[in-house]
Symmetry: C2
Subunit: 509 residues, 2 copies
């Protein structure tokens, strides 16, 4: 499934503008340490947000019986050829080195279809979360990259009509609820047969169906006048275009638009429309059983770019009040549809499929913006082990304590210095957002004891000084504090006056 | 870090043999549906075993304060150039399309060093689990691929001597214990300074140190006579080679080999050896604190191929009794060392680093073999919802039940047919290894009830028929059965006589 990445107003030909700029860039900069154009490194809080999306989606896919498929990052070139229409020029080729022509995958759908063609699999729900590659003109600020993530769920196999289709929509609803965007996302539906039937009814010649469909696809970004202009340029009569304009302005609940189409005698007379309507009737009853019929909109202007769709098509868009926020400009964050003929291109067998692709990078951008508002702490480690005084900074003792914590499955760190200063150790714990400290002193250790304390407590807190516990009770005490830490609490005062013996530190993180 | 993938007796020049075969292949097969040479699809039980390795390693890395870094799959070509010596010919280039020369990453170490060179990071523990690419002659049966996984943990930054080194070794021990190979893996250590000092002591000219080191590296695969022959060919005197032969036959516990070196006056007189010994003394005390000194062997014959190591080097090998098993032929399954100068090649700052790379595909091969012995069930879904009789196969009711289970976070499936036959539904549940069924009948539904039962119980089991429960109690009953199912139980009899009303099925899965 495409994820809407290419579904933008910038024409793919923009890539031509690439060359001169690149040649200029390459002059004298050959040894510069940088990253390839349109790619990025993921690290820190970003990767935590991203992994949350992966985990939410993966759990939901498994809950629906999905299994993972992980294919190579490149495919034989001829496998990708002829599948993407105009966008084929965005395919990233490998150098021919040893007789095999390969190219980086453009999406995760074609590799899935290739795999189905190679195996004897008849039915599968598969998911795949991985990077795909488009040699497009990158626009990093707007989130258009050459390497980006897709997250696909597809159902392949012969089933009764619209049952898998309803489940895919239900999964979309679950994923958006799971990542916390349930209220902001709306899912638009259409049916290729209704769309194509509508074109026929309006008087579009059959051989122009796909090109007119691609013009309609731009209605969410361009005013009607411009879309009509494109239709006329593509050879349509003005009254035919106007008729399309009337139909495509209709969107509403599934029930409403089904009723609207049924009220049109000329639409009902078209056989393709009839087939599509029958599907949409079934879909409505199934979505009601899945309690998500109210989450979708039937939009006669939805067309989707790719040629291979044969039935239901859909697109999730994020709709938020703030007009100029990143979120409103972000467009579709998931898209897909039914493609019953693609697998047949790779094998003797025709396997009907339906799937959805989530635009992870776009969902990430929205979630990141929200996380930043909340200033979430990127906590990696639970315990920082510190020492004050002692021979050789009590390094061996700090190591033994770390050993005991790691063995108990608790994440722990200590300064990798023989004699670290106490303020440095507190600073390191604070910078890393570590909630607990185990503090070693020579006298305490001689008595078989260590101090366990919560960091960041206000001065008047009863547990400000922590507790001196026997070494063998340390793990239990740490677990007790971690358990209470995970409970909802009054907001911790972000203070650094946590030191033993009133040590004060700079607050710079 | 390399993962030993290239550390094999087959010379990298074997890739030359690639071309004629390829040309032959490409004749007439241009449209064959296949996968690129030396790559594979991951699916099913394989991906579950693989993900277990990822999860175990990731959890341990986090427990030690590690954070993820995810870099692009390709880098600018000049970033990779000159880092891999002879192996540079195995780098996979992208076609030059638009002025930027890129190549697929050869390992995860150079991208990490490039990232350190681009940022202001001074200290980090980073991990990265991802695919890397080598345009080598693939040998799929022996697990040598062109696309394969690496799993790296590295500690970058200025610290006191040998503290991060000890933690890396401790992490290696934890990961192997975590995946269940703790007893089978042995970790061999050496120190580049001791190795280089030893070469000097034996009379190796300084400019031959690396090439003689690479000969010594083959001692675990070739007999001494052949390694000596290579040394003579590289211009060494016979008595110098013999002297190396005496030293390199020594391996034993850290304490033993430290004592052995200290007993040699000529070794002790060498300054590099002295520095190395001081490191090894510290390391021994730190590994004792971490309770894993007994897990390592000091092996004077360990050399490691890559040029960039500057201090401690290590390699984990799997050692099992059965001589001809896959496991014994698999060689090193993790390797790494200290590389203090690599990052300096990408930036103004020199950042000392130490790291380890786990050979995921090799660990996977061993675990898979063991899993196959145990015939572990690849269970994906917990509940299969079935119906017998009823109008339209009770499809809408099955959907409502699925809806309720999904909402409760329980994985569930049902047949995507309007009127599935009951035996088909049982067969589907069995094939997928689903443990529980929710069974709908028209009369029971009219009374607001469904049957919840455990599949695969023997005929005389008291719960063989399951329980008829109210619809609103279904989730609780399913959770009760899942909880008891996860308890240790007497082995379930693999029977298929689970049907309501004594339906019997073929046992073919």
């Amino acid at each position: 499934m495409e994820n809407g990445q290419t579904n933008q107003t910038n024409p793919p030909t923009a890539v031509k503008a690439d060359k001169p700029k690149k040649e200029k860039e390459s002059k004298g900069n050959n040894n510069q340490v940088k990253i390839p154009k349109g790619t990025r490194d993921w690290v820190g809080a970003d990767i935590q947000i991203r992994d949350k999306i992966f985990k939410v989606a993966g759990d939901i896919f498994s809950r629906h019986g999905g299994t993972q498929l992980d294919t190579p990052v490149f495919e034989l070139k001829h496998i990708l050829a002829g599948k993407y229409g105009e966008d084929s020029k965005l395919i990233y080729d490998l150098a021919d080195q040893g007789g095999e022509s390969c190219a980086l995958r453009y999406d995760l759908t074609v590799p899935f279809a290739r795999w189905l063609g190679m195996t004897s699999t008849q039915q599968i729900k598969r998911y795949h979360i991985a990077k795909v590659y488009r040699r497009d003109q990158p626009a990093v600020a707007r989130g258009r990259m050459r390497e980006f993530y897709q997250c696909d769920f597809d159902i392949a196999g012969e089933y009764d009509a619209m049952i898998p289709d309803a489940e895919i929509l239900r999964i979309m609803v679950e994923v958006f609820e799971g990542v916390g965007l349930g209220k902001d996302v709306s899912i638009k539906l259409n049916h290729r047969k209704i769309l194509d039937g509508m074109f026929a009814v309006c008087g579009v010649p059959e051989d122009k169906t796909r090109s007119i469909s691609s013009a309609v696809d731009k209605l969410d970004k361009l005013p009607w006048e411009e879309v009509k202009k494109e239709m006329l340029e593509k050879g349509l009569e003005s009254d035919v275009a106007d008729k399309i304009g009337v139909y495509t302005q209709h969107s509403g609940s599934l029930g409403e638009i089904i009723a609207y189409i049924k009220s049109s005698a000329e639409m009902c007379a078209n056989e393709q429309v009839q087939q599509g309507l029958s599907d949409m009737d079934l879909l409505l009853s199934y979505l009601e059983a899945f309690e998500c019929a109210d989450k979708v909109t039937f939009d006669l202007a939805l067309a989707r770019g790719l040629d291979y769709y044969t039935g239901l098509i859909y697109e999730a868009v994020i709709e938020l009040p703030g007009e100029k926020s990143t979120e409103t400009r972000i467009g579709s964050i998931a898209a897909g549809g039914r493609y019953d003929n693609l697998v047949g291109m790779y094998g003797r067998r025709k396997i009907p499929c339906i799937g959805v692709s989530f635009g992870v990078d776009r969902i990430f951008t929205i979630l990141k913006q929200r996380h930043e508002d909340q200033k979430i702490r990127a906590r990696s480690v639970d315990v920082y082990i510190m020492a004050f005084g002692g021979k050789n900074g009590l390094l061996i003792d700090r190591m033994k304590i770390a050993d005991a914590l790691w063995k108990a499955g608790i994440s722990a760190e200590f300064s990798a210095k023989v004699k670290p200063k106490l303020p440095q150790q507190f600073k390191a714990a604070e910078t890393a957002g570590v909630p607990l400290a185990v503090i070693l002193g020579e006298d305490e250790l001689a008595a078989g004891k260590v101090r366990v304390k919560t960091l960041g407590l206000p001065d008047d807190h009863p547990e400000k000084e922590g507790r001196l516990v026997k070494k063998e009770d340390m793990v239990a005490e740490v677990n007790r504090l971690l358990a209470s830490e995970s409970q909802p609490q009054p907001p911790a005062v972000p203070t650094l006056t946590d030191a033993v013996g009133q040590i004060k530190l700079d607050g710079k993180a």
